[in-house]
C-alpha cells in the first residue's frame, strides 16, 4: 500500500516573545502509523501539537493535515485530541459529556447514539456511563478523555501524555485501545516522556529538545543509529567486567578462554540511551 502523508509540517517556527518554542521543525506522519513525539518538559511538544491541530498559527513554515490547513474548521474536524489536561465536565455524566462533544462535531440522533455506545464500550466505561465524571478514578477519566477524542471517528488522533497519573490497569487498557486503533488503520500521534511506552507502541519516534527535532526514525533504527553499542557485563574470577561491544559473543569466548565465567548480562541500548546520547541528559531531567 503506498504511503500517504496525513500530517506534514514544513519548517515550522513558533515564538513566544524571546522564546523560540518550535524552531524550523519539519516532519511527516503517514496514514496508519503511530508516531511518537518524545521530549522533556519544555521541549516544545505541546506547542508543536497546538500548531498541528490549528490552535496556534506558526510564525513561519506550513502545517497541512490531509492537505488542508488545520485552522479551517472542516480540516480540524478530521482530528481528535485527548489533551494532557483532562478536558471533561466533571458535573456531567460520561454520556452527557460525549453527547455534548458529539453535537459540536455535528453528530446527532442514531449516529450520535451509535458512536457514543461504541466509544464507551471501546474504553470500557459502558457500565459507568450514567455516573458523574467527578466520581471516576484518574484512569477512568483518562479513558473517557480518549473516548471523547474518538467520538467523531477522526482520521488523526493526537494523544498528549495519555497515561499521566494512571494506574497500571488503566494504562494497559489504554495501550490495548491504542493498538486496536492502529489495527483499524488510524493514524496516531503520541507524545510521552515514558520511553518504554514509545518503544512498545510507536512505529516511528521523533525526539525533540529545545524546539528542534533531534532525531526521527523507527525505534529500532534510532537505537541502532544513536543508541551506541550493547553493554556486556561479565562476572568472572571474582571480578565484574563491563564493556561496550559490537560482538558480545566473541568477547564472551575471549573471556571464557582465560577464566571460567560465573555469569553475564547483556544490556541492549534503549531509547533512554538514545535520548541521553542525543541531548546529554535523561528524559525526566
Amino acid at each position: 500500500m503506498p504511503e500517504e502523508t496525513l500530517l506534514k509540517l514544513t519548517q515550522v517556527t513558533k515564538r513566544f516573545g524571546a522564546l523560540t518554542a518550535v524552531d524550523g521543525l519539519s516532519l511527516e506522519v503517514q496514514r496508519g502509523e503511530i508516531f511518537g513525539l518524545l521530549g522533556p518538559n519544555g521541549a516544545g511538544k505541546t506547542t508543536l501539537i497546538n500548531c498541528a491541530i490549528g490552535l496556534l498559527a506558526p510564525d513561519a513554515g506550513e502545517v497541512a493535515v490531509g492537505g488542508g490547513n488545520p485552522r479551517e474548521r472542516l480540516v480540524r474536524a478530521r482530528m481528535g485530541i485527548a489533551p494532557q489536561t483532562l478536558s471533561l465536565y466533571e458535573l456531567l455524566t460520561a454520556e452527557e459529556n460525549l453527547s455534548f462533544f458529539g453535537h459540536l462535531y455535528g453528530l446527532s440522533g442514531d449516529r450520535l447514539k451509535e458512536r457514543t455506545r461504541w466509544v464507551l464500550d471501546f474504553v470500557g466505561l459502558e457500565n459507568r456511563k450514567r455516573d458523574a465524571v467527578k466520581t471516576y478514578s484518574g484512569g477512568m477519566k483518562r479513558r473517557l478523555n480518549l473516548a471523547a477524542a474518538l467520538l467523531h471517528d477522526p482520521q488523526i488522533i493526537l494523544l498528549d501524555e495519555p497515561t499521566v497519573g494512571v494506574d497500571p490497569q488503566s494504562r494497559n487498557s489504554i495501550f490495548d485501545s491504542i493498538l486496536e486503533l492502529k489495527r483499524d488503520g488510524r493514524t496516531i500521534i503520541y507524545t510521552t516522556h515514558y520511553m518504554e511506552e514509545a518503544e512498545r507502541l510507536c512505529d516511528r519516534v521523533g525526539i525533540m529538545d529545545g524546539g528542534r527535532l533531534l532525531a526521527l526514525d523507527t525505534v529500532h533504527g534510532l537505537i541502532a543509529e544513536q543508541g551506541g553499542l550493547p553493554r556486556l557485563v561479565v562476572n568472572t574470577d571474582g571480578r565484574e567486567i563491563e564493556m561496550l561491544t559490537a560482538d558480545p559473543l566473541a568477547e564472551l569466548n575471549r573471556l571464557a578462554a582465560s577464566a571460567p565465567i560465573d555469569r553475564f548480562r547483556l544490556d541492549q541500548p534503549t531509547l533512554e540511551q538514545v535520548f541521553l546520547n542525543l541531548t546529554g541528559r535523561t528524559l525526566r531531567d
Binding site: L56, R73, R76, P83, S87, L91, H103, L104
Partner: protein, 423 residues
C-alpha cells in the same frame, strides 16, 4: 442540534448541578422577594387594628358592656389585663395604648343628662398624637352607639329616666336648673311610654333608625401612585438578585472552562469563536429569562404581584437579561481565574446592587444614594421592572431604562469578547 444550542444546554445543565450557583440564582432572590416583602407587609388581610391593653377596674354591668364593645371593635386588637399590667405593656412599647375603665364608670354611664360623665383613662406615649386622636374618636363613637342603643329600647330608657328623676330630687343643682331638667326628663319619660305602640306599628323602633351622623365609606384604589403591596417592591429586587446570581455563575463557569481545560476541546471542535461566545451568551440569557419568569409566576400566584402591562414586563425582562449577559461576558473576559471572577465580580456587583436599589428600595433611597445609583445597571433593571409592575410607565417611558440596559449590555459584551482569551 446546532453547536450554539448544545453549548447553551450544557451550560444550563451545569448551572442546575452547582448547588451554590443555583442558590444564588434562585434561592436568595426568593428570600429577598418573599421574606422581606412579608416583613414589610405585616398583615395585609383587612383593616389594620391598633393593639391596645384594656383594664376594667369597675367590673360593673355598664363597664363590662363598654369593655365588650371595645373588644368587639374592628379598630382595636385588645389584650385584656389588669391596670398595672396594661400600663406596663405601653411603657415597654409592646402595645400602642392602655384603655382603663376606672371605678365608677358603670354608675356614671347610667346617668342621663346630669352628673359626672363616664370616664375612660387612655395611657399613651405623648409622641403618638395620631393614635391618641384615633382612640378618642373610636371611644366617642362607641359612647354614641350606647346612647343610641338605650334610646332605641324604651323600657331600659325609662328605667334610666326614673333613676335620674329620683337622683334629681337629692341633687345639689340650682332649683331653676333642677326644675327645668325634671320637666325635660318627665316629658321624655312620657314620650318613651308611647314609644312601644309606635314601634310595633312601624315594625321596629323609630329611634333605632336615628343616628346623629352617618358616615358612608367607599373604597377608592389610588391609581399608579405606589406599589399595591410590599411584594411589588421586593420582587423586582429579587429579580435583580437572581439575574446577578446567574451572571456570576456563568462568568465563573466560563473562566472555569479555560482553567480546567475544557475550552481547549471546544476550540478543537469545528466551531468558531462566535458560536462559542454565542452559546455561552444564550445560556446566560435563557437562565436569566427563566428565572425572571419563575419569580414573576411565584409573585403572581402567591403574592399579588401583578404587572400593569405584561408586554412592558417582557421588555424589562429581556433588556435586563441582555445587560447582564454583557456584564457576564465582561467579567469572563477580564478574569483569569475562577477566584478572580468570583472575587472581583461580586466585589463590583455588591456596590452596584446596593446603590442600584437591590438592598434599599429605590422608593425609600436617600437622594444622594439614588444619584450614585444612576451608574448601576441594577437600578435601571429594577426601575424597568417597577415601571411595568406598578409605576404605570408607558412604552415611551420604558425606553429610557430599557435603552440604558441594552446599551450597557452591548458595551460590556463588546469589551468582554474583545478581551476574552480562549487560550
Amino acid at each position: 442540534m446546532p453547536a450554539i444550542l448544545a453549548i447553551a444546554i450544557k451550560d444550563l445543565r451545569m448551572l442546575i448541578r452547582v448547588k451554590s450557583g443555583l442558590f444564588f440564582a434562585l434561592g436568595w432572590p426568593l428570600v429577598i422577594a418573599i421574606a422581606f416583602g412579608a416583613i414589610f407587609s405585616g398583615s395585609s388581610d383587612g383593616p389594620r387594628r391598633m393593639a391596645v391593653a384594656l383594664a376594667d377596674d369597675d367590673q360593673s354591668a355598664g363597664s363590662k358592656a363598654f369593655a365588650a364593645q371595645i373588644v368587639a371593635s374592628t379598630s382595636f386588637w385588645v389584650q385584656v389585663c389588669k391596670r398595672s399590667e396594661a400600663i406596663d405593656l405601653v411603657h415597654k412599647g409592646r402595645l400602642a395604648a392602655a384603655l382603663i375603665l376606672p371605678s365608677g364608670f358603670g354608675e356614671a354611664s347610667g346617668q342621663l343628662f346630669h352628673g359626672r360623665p363616664p370616664q375612660v383613662e387612655v395611657w399613651i406615649d405623648p409622641s403618638h398624637q395620631a393614635e391618641a386622636a384615633m382612640i378618642q374618636g373610636v371611644l366617642f363613637q362607641m359612647t354614641m352607639e350606647q346612647l343610641q342603643k338605650k334610646m332605641s329600647d324604651s323600657g331600659a330608657m325609662r328605667v334610666g329616666l326614673h333613676k335620674s328623676l329620683e337622683d334629681l330630687k337629692s341633687s345639689d343643682l340650682p332649683p331653676d336648673q333642677r326644675a327645668s331638667l325634671t320637666r325635660f326628663l318627665g316629658n321624655m319619660d312620657r314620650a318613651m311610654a308611647e314609644m312601644p305602640a309606635l314601634s310595633s306599628a312601624a315594625g321596629g323602633s323609630p329611634s333605632a333608625s336615628w343616628q346623629p351622623l352617618k358616615i358612608e365609606q367607599h373604597d377608592v384604589a389610588i391609581r399608579q401612585e405606589g406599589p399595591r403591596n410590599p411584594f411589588e417592591i421586593t420582587f423586582p429586587q429579587g429579580l435583580l438578585w437572581g439575574v446577578l446570581g446567574c451572571t456570576m455563575a456563568f462568568a465563573i463557569g466560563f473562566v472555569s472552562e479555560r482553567t480546567q481545560g475544557t475550552l481547549f476541546r471546544l476550540q478543537m471542535a469545528p466551531i468558531g469563536r462566535i458560536q462559542l461566545v454565542a452559546g455561552k451568551a444564550l445560556a446566560c440569557a435563557v437562565a436569566c429569562l427563566v428565572l425572571e419568569t419563575l419569580l414573576l409566576a411565584i409573585g403572581r400566584l402567591g403574592f399579588h404581584v401583578v404587572p400593569n402591562n405584561w408586554g412592558l414586563m417582557a421588555l424589562a425582562g429581556v433588556s435586563t437579561a441582555a445587560a447582564f449577559v454583557g456584564i457576564m461576558m465582561l467579567i469572563a473576559g477580564l478574569a483569569k481565574t475562577e477566584q478572580a471572577a468570583g472575587g472581583v465580580g461580586w466585589a463590583s456587583m455588591m456596590p452596584l446592587a446596593m446603590f442600584g436599589g437591590a438592598m434599599v428600595p429605590l422608593a425609600f433611597m436617600p437622594h444622594w444614594m439614588a444619584q450614585i445609583g444612576v451608574v448601576s445597571p441594577v437600578r435601571w433593571g429594577i426601575l424597568a421592572f417597577e415601571g411595568a409592575l406598578w409605576r404605570g410607565f408607558s412604552f415611551e417611558e420604558m425606553l429610557l431604562p430599557c435603552g440604558i440596559l441594552l446599551a450597557i449590555g452591548a458595551i460590556c459584551f463588546f469589551i468582554g469578547t474583545r478581551t476574552l482569551r480562549l487560550n
